[in-house]
C-alpha cells in the first residue's frame, strides 16, 4: 500500500487501532432506545424550524440595507 521504505519496529509506536488497515473496518451499529430516538427527532424538528427562521431574519436584514 505504500512505496516508502519502512522499519517494522517503527509500527510498535502505533496502537493497532491506529493503522489504516484497522480503522477502515466499520464499527457495529448501535441500537438506540425509543427515548433517545424521540430526542433526536425532536432536535431535528428544532433545526428544521430554526433554519427557515434564520433565513427569514437573513432576508429581513437584506431588505433593511
Amino acid at each position: 500500500m505504500t512505496s516508502e521504505p519502512s522499519d517494522p519496529s517503527l509500527f510498535e509506536a502505533l496502537e493497532p487501532g491506529q493503522l489504516t488497515l484497522y480503522s477502515e473496518r466499520p464499527l457495529p451499529r448501535r441500537r438506540l432506545g425509543r427515548g433517545m430516538l424521540a430526542l433526536l427527532v425532536l432536535l431535528r424538528v428544532y433545526v428544521l424550524i430554526a433554519i427557515p427562521i434564520v433565513a427569514y431574519a437573513f432576508v429581513r436584514a437584506l431588505l433593511a440595507h
Binding site: M1, T2, E4, S6, D7, P8, S9, L10, F11, E12, A13, L14, E15, P16, G17, Q18, L19, T20, L21, Y22, S23, E24, P26, L27, P28, R29, R30, L32, M36, L39, L40, L43, R44, Y46, V47, I49, A50, I51, I53, V54, Y56, A57, F58, A61, L62, H65
Partner: protein
Amino acid sequence: MSQDVSDLGVFLGPAAAAAAAAELVTREDVLRARDRQRVLRSRAGRHRLRLLWLLLGPGVLVMLGENDGPSMVSYATTGATYGIGFFVPFILLTFLMAYLVQEMTVRLGAATHRGHAELIFQRFGPFWGYFAMGDLVIGNLLTLMTEFIAIQVGGLYFGVPQPVSVGGGVLLVSLSLALRRYATWERTAMALAAFNLLFVPAALFAHPDAARLVHALAFWKPLPGGVNPAFVTMILADIGATVTPWMIFFQQSAVVDKGLTREDVREGRLDTALGAMLAALAAIATVVAAAPLFGAHVDVSEFASGADFASALRPFLGRFGATLFALGIMEAGLVAAMTISTSSSYALAEAIAERHSMNLDLAHGRWFYASAIGSALIAGAVVLTPGAPLLAMTLTVNVLATLLMPPALLFLLLLVNDREIMGDLANRRAANLAGGTIVVAISLIGALYGVITIFPGLLPG
C-alpha cells in the same frame, strides 16, 4: 470494542503484529508512527515540556480557529454596543462551555482512533449520519464564506484589491494542504494563529480601566439597554463565536490524525484548556479594544466588517492600534479558512468511507483534498460575486451555528457515553450534567431567538 481494536497485538504479540502491519502500511501510518515515536521517547525520558509541546495542536487550533472573522466582528460589536460589562464574564463562560465540549472530542478521538463523522455513520447509521453531515456542510460553507469576507475586508484596510486577498486566502488553504503532512500543517496553522493575540496589544491602546474590568468580571454589570431582541441576538452570536459544530468534527479528526492515544488524554486536555484561555483572552481584548466606540456613542449597526471597526477605532487606538486590529481580523479569517475547510474535508471523506488524513498523498487523498480546496474555491467565488449580501451573511452565520449546535451536541454526548467504544474514558455524571445543561441552554436561547424574530414586539426595544 476497545478490546477489539487492540486484538492484532493480543493475537500476534507486539513484534509480530508490527511486522504484519509493516506489510500493509500506508503513507499516513508511516508518518504517524514517526510522530508517535517522538512522543513515546519524550514520555519515556520524562521530558514533560517537550511532551506537551509535541502533543499541543488540535485544542489550541480549534479554539483560536473559532476566534474567526465573524466571531471577532461579534466581539467588536459587543464591545461597541455594551462596553465593558456583562459580556466580559459571559464570554469567559462561553469558553468554559467550549472547553467542556471539546474535551469530550479529545477522549473520543484517543479512545476510538476514528473521526466524529465516521463514528456517527457507523454507530447510528446513514440516516442520522446524513442529517449530521447536512448541518455541518451548510454551517461550514456559510462560515467559510464569512472567513473570506474577513480576509477581503482586512485586505481592503491595507489597500489590497479584493481578488488578490481572496485569491491569496484560497491559495494559502491549498498550499497548506499540499504539504501532505499533518504535523507541518498543524505547526504552520499554529504559527499563524498566534497572531490572534494581536487583539491584546490593540486593547492596550484603548487604555482600559482595570477597575471596570474587575467590576464587570465580579458582578456581570453593567448591561445597558437591558434584555431586548438585540441582546438575545448578541448572546446567541457570542455563543456561536465559541461553540460550533465544525469544532467538534475538526478536533476529533485532528486528534486521530495526530495519533493521540489514551495515554495522551491529559496533554490533550491541557492543549484544549490552553487554547480556550488564549482564545478567551483575545476575545475579551477585542471587546475592550472596541469599547471606546460605546463611550463615544458610535452607531455600529451599519458597519459591514472588521475593517469598518478598524477605521472607526483609529481615533481611539491610534494608527498602530487600528492596524493591529485590521491585521487581527485578517488573521482570524485566514486561520479559520484553514481549519474549517479541513473540518469539511475530514467529515466528507469519513462520511463516504474514503481515506481521510493530512498525511495522505494526493492520489489516495483526492476526495479529502478536493473537499477542502473545492469548498474554499466556492466560498471565495461567492464572496467575489458582485452584489453578494456580505453584511447580512456575516451577521447570520454565528446565529445559525448556534442553532445547529444542539443536535451536534446530542450526538457527541451519545458517543462519549458509549462504553463499548469508550471503555473507561466514557463520560462521568458531572460531564453529562454539564453537557446536558449546555444542550438545554442553547436550545432555549435558540427558541427565544426564534420567537422574538417572528414576534419582534414581544421584548422591549
